[in-house]
Symmetry: C2
Subunit: 128 residues, 2 copies
DNA sequence: CACGGCATTTACGTAAAAGTCAATTACGCC
DNA sequence: GGCGTAATTGACTTTTACGTAAATGCCGTG
């Protein structure tokens, strides 16, 4: 496990621009350390970026991603906070389960659509 | 099955504004018929809106949703078009499968986070 | 018929999430 | 120690997906 990554290494790995990674830093999603003015991303930052990209692919906004990321952190020490966090986690999970239902439905409709295409091809005498 | 729905009925059902439904019409996603200037949505339009909302929840852009919706339509008559459409459908499916992987990972990380919270509560002597 | 209430059209506004550009600044190396 | 490459910062721009406001139309009811 390497100790540091430069910004351009990570832009290449994740297919985003430097502007994007700096934007995430401005938003407080990642906090790379500095050597002089240069950002040095640690493995933990890299992992966070991975989670951000996942969240993006799932259609979460930056704010939602921020919330999710906070859930991955060390649990708070106070009971009320802990219970609140558990509630929030449960809500996010419900959200994700809804997405999963949406996903399965969409997938199966696409299956149907493809089948219709294949049948139509068969009618036209094309061997698939 | 009712023949027509008014715009406000559908806004209530789907929790969106009239502006949104009119926007979808401008974008060519739905094509309600008119009585005078008033829009009348048929069951097919309603079903389309349902699909649009699903796509939105999954984080697809309007353009992506438009593409997906076109896949649900009657398959084209020409062989080249059919093969192209099958390719597009396969791409979308791959996209959805990626989302599904992202989803499962996020869900299991949330599981872990919740567990950590519950444990922490137990340490504090709270009965969950 | 006047009115309340929902619909429509047109036009402008805006927040989120970056993209783009220009002007520095710093680093590595020969 | 000069030079090219890479990184930074700041300002401005863009795109998407609607929101909002103003002016007007239509229609059933009392």
């Amino acid at each position: 496990m390497r100790e540091f990554y430069t910004i351009t290494e990570l832009t290449r790995e994740f297919g985003v621009s430097t502007r994007t990674l700096r934007f995430y830093e401005d938003e407080g999603l990642v906090m790379p350390v500095r050597r002089g003015r240069t950002r040095l991303f640690r493995p933990a930052d890299r992992h966070l970026i991975k989670q951000i990209m996942r969240g993006k692919r799932l259609g979460f906004s930056i704010n939602e991603i921020r919330e999710i990321i906070q859930m991955y952190r060390e649990p708070p020490g106070e009971v009320g906070q802990l219970k609140l966090m558990i509630k929030r986690i449960e809500e996010k999970r419900e959200d994700l389960r809804q997405k999963r239902r949406d996903l399965e439905e969409t997938l199966s409709e696409l299956d149907g659509a493809e089948e219709a295409c294949v049948e139509r091809l068969a009618e036209l005498g094309v061997n698939t």
